[in-house]
């Protein structure tokens, strides 16, 4: 694997490229099938060594996008459209076996809930070693040695002894370290972390994020961080994409996005956020609630909650368009243009 680091040079081939990704959740009976669109055409790129945060509230489609990327949505319950290219190869078009080989080896995922992502009946060491043995021709002994080494790398104290412990014998933070160890087992170049610290206390979250940052630094792998937490994204990401109702509505380098949000939804989120600095006044909530999955009315899906909506917002759906220098925004009247701030 490569260890090329550094931001995003001119136009190199992206490591991971999602184009017009859609997810339809299937329900109902065979006689009367129903499908509801929850991811409505998501496109983004992830470059080597980069951290992209995909931020959204519940139901925005962020986690389903990640599951779709990884080919983890069962065909019986979800239909995935669009393309996901990893180093030029379309993952969605791959044979399941080929996809499985690539998953883990090149792209690995860290889930929110380590307790349910790990098998409770197997020792944690075995589960890490299993990942190695599934992808590489190595003996038990070597796999074991590498698993212990990985456990040491994610700083689990006394790894050789704890190799034989079961998931329930670890604290939440330690279990998340086990997950990270197994995700890193094959040195993937893309790591997808879906709310990796949401179930953890704030002091443990800080430990895990520090560990992730360190490991990324040393391995040079790219990170797709899926989170609802604007604070977490601000501390960890290079670029941020904001999702609303199954669309990416804004994407920008992290400082641009927080300093000068262009989409009214982004601005609304930032205004609604309680902070540790500044006057603790009343917050400015976004009125209303996000739309339910399924068909959307025409026009911009944020319009019913948008303070800046005009007539045309009800008829035309805004496309995600470049707003130089480095921003993409899906809004007919982005804030910078109207110099709202």
């Amino acid at each position: 694997m490569t260890t090329t680091t550094g931001g995003t040079p001119a136009e190199p081939q992206p490591l991971l490229e999602a184009e017009d990704l859609t997810v339809d959740l299937l329900s109902g009976t065979p006689g009367a099938p129903r499908s509801r669109r929850v991811v409505r055409g998501v496109s983004f790129t992830l470059h080597e060594g980069e951290t992209l945060a995909l931020i959204g509230e519940s139901g925005s489609g962020k986690s389903l996008s990640a599951m779709a990327l990884m080919g983890l949505l069962p065909a019986t319950t979800a239909e995935v459209g669009g393309s996901v290219r990893h180093r030029g190869t379309d993952l969605l078009a791959l044979h399941p076996d080929a996809l499985r080989a690539r998953r883990g080896k090149h792209i690995a995922m860290i889930f929110q809930d380590a307790l349910s992502a790990l098998n409770p009946t197997l020792t944690v060491g075995f589960q890490i070693a299993e990942v190695i043995r599934a992808h590489e021709q190595v003996g038990r002994r070597e796999a074991r040695a590498r698993a212990v080494e990985l456990m040491a790398r994610v700083r689990i104290p006394d790894p050789a002894r704890r190799y034989r412990d079961y998931p329930h014998q670890f604290s939440g933070g330690m279990r998340q370290r086990i997950m990270i160890a197994s995700a890193l087992a094959l040195s993937p170049d893309v790591l997808i972390a879906d709310e990796p610290t949401t179930a953890l206390d704030v002091t443990v979250q800080a430990q895990i994020m520090e560990l992730l940052a360190e490991l990324r630094e040393s391995t040079g792998s790219a990170l797709l961080l899926i989170t609802h937490d604007l604070g977490l994204a601000a501390t960890a990401a290079d670029r941020v994409a904001i999702m609303y109702a199954g669309h990416i509505v804004e994407q920008a380098p992290v400082e641009d996005l927080y300093d000068r949000p262009a989409h009214p939804y982004t601005e609304g989120l930032l205004a609604a956020l309680p902070r540790l600095e500044g006057p603790p006044d009343d917050l400015t909530p976004i009125p209303g609630t996000p739309p339910a999955p399924g068909p959307l009315p025409p026009g911009c899906s944020f319009r019913p909650r948008c303070p800046a909506a005009r007539d045309s917002c009800a008829t035309r759906q805004p496309a995600l368009l470049p707003a130089p220098p480095a921003r993409l925004v899906a809004c007919h009247y982005p804030l910078e243009a109207s110099s709202a701030r």
Binding site: Q205, H228, A236, E255
Partner: protein, 349 residues
């Protein structure tokens, strides 16, 4: 019983945001230990979990006391004790100067109206088979509220309106409401008996940011309108800062720091408070790496096996010999000051 609990007799429990307001709810030397393991709680495998291990609290009328702490610190047990849903191993809870647990059952039942609970999860705390109006009305029926039966429904509609819900949706069931609306319903229900105190246990942690702000503002507005007092329990320090007048930080069943909001957030004295504040990821990428972040090592110890001395010494970077031997007592950081800290080496910048 920990030996230093007796000290609480000397140090006044009182802390104040508005010194004039009287203390409405007061906990003194509150201890709740649970025994577990072993048949009948005896023999091998028996453990005493010191869930709440000597807590003093005072809530002033019309103010909000924020209680922060990580999982396992005893927040939820403390909630149950304050609601008199659980009996403390020792200590007292007084509402308006009256010891709740000393009251006869019928009187306790009546007194309970004064203090109501807003629960964390609006998805599981409402009966899915009841309509919104039934949910809001139920406490009045149970407590045989003074309102005549027919006017209870009118009152329930009024309550729905008060929390920003359309009373015409009163026939709907919980699943037909969004998360934020369900939490509003939970608040309306908690207000049905005209309580003076609301105990809010993580009331916004299940909600999305945009909706969380709506509910926070609603709580503040209701407080202003009805002069309510809140105990606001949350793990999110930014949320607590936004609503609390006073803050108490809990660690392993004890309060390690307590004081008015601006002092505790602006000049935290306990190393744990500092670490907590420093661990909160700020939504401002420009501040990345600006301030020295304190990343604590390890996890909080189990309340079944709390360390000797200061409960925080196993994770504290300032720990010295005395910390492993002697448990620090909550004392004012300045003579006569309102902010108190339980630390042998408090920060004093």
């Amino acid at each position: 019983m920990p030996d230093d609990v007796t000290d609480t007799g000397k140090s006044p429990t009182v802390t104040a945001a508005a010194p004039a307001a009287p203390v409405l709810l007061e906990a003194r030397g509150l201890v709740r230990h649970y025994t577990s393991g072993g048949p009948f709680g005896i023999g091998r495998g028996r453990a005493t979990v010191r869930a709440v291990d000597g807590v003093d609290l005072a809530l002033r009328s019309g103010s909000t006391l924020g209680l922060v702490g990580e999982s396992g610190c005893g927040k939820s047990t403390l909630t149950r004790l304050l609601l008199a849903l659980d009996r403390p191993t020792s200590g007292t809870v007084r509402v308006d100067g009256r010891d709740l647990l000393g009251l006869p059952r019928s009187e306790l039942r009546r007194r309970r109206r004064d203090i109501q609970l807003v629960m964390q999860d609006p998805y599981t705390s409402l009966d899915p088979r009841m309509t919104a109006l039934e949910i809001v009305r139920e406490p009045m029926d149970v407590h045989r509220a003074p309102e005549a039966k027919h006017s209870r429904s009118a009152r329930a509609r009024e309550l729905m309106e008060m929390v920003g819900l359309d009373p015409d949706h009163g026939h709907r069931h919980p699943h037909q409401f969004s998360g934020g609306q369900r939490q509003r319903l939970g608040i309306a229900r908690a207000l049905a008996l005209r309580p003076r105190i609301l105990l809010c246990d993580e009331p916004v942690s299940a909600l999305d940011v945009s909706v969380q702000a709506q509910v926070m503002n609603l709580l503040k507005e209701l407080q202003r309108t009805f002069g309510l007092s809140y105990v606001f329990i949350a793990h999110d320090l930014a949320v607590v800062r936004n609503i609390a007048d006073e803050v108490a930080v809990m660690y392993l069943g004890r309060i390690v720091e307590q004081g008015d909001r601006d002092t505790v957030y602006g000049r935290p004295a306990h190393p744990y408070t500092r670490a907590l504040l420093s661990a909160v990821p700020e939504p401002d990428p420009r501040r990345r790496g600006e301030s020295e972040r304190i990343v604590l090592q390890g996890d909080p110890p189990s309340p079944a096996r709390p360390p000797a001395g200061c409960p925080f010494h196993t994770r504290c970077w300032k720990s010295e010999k005395v910390c492993t031997e002697k448990r620090p007592v909550l004392t004012p950081t300045e003579p006569g000051g309102e902010r108190r800290v339980a630390c042998h080496f408090p920060e004093n910048d």
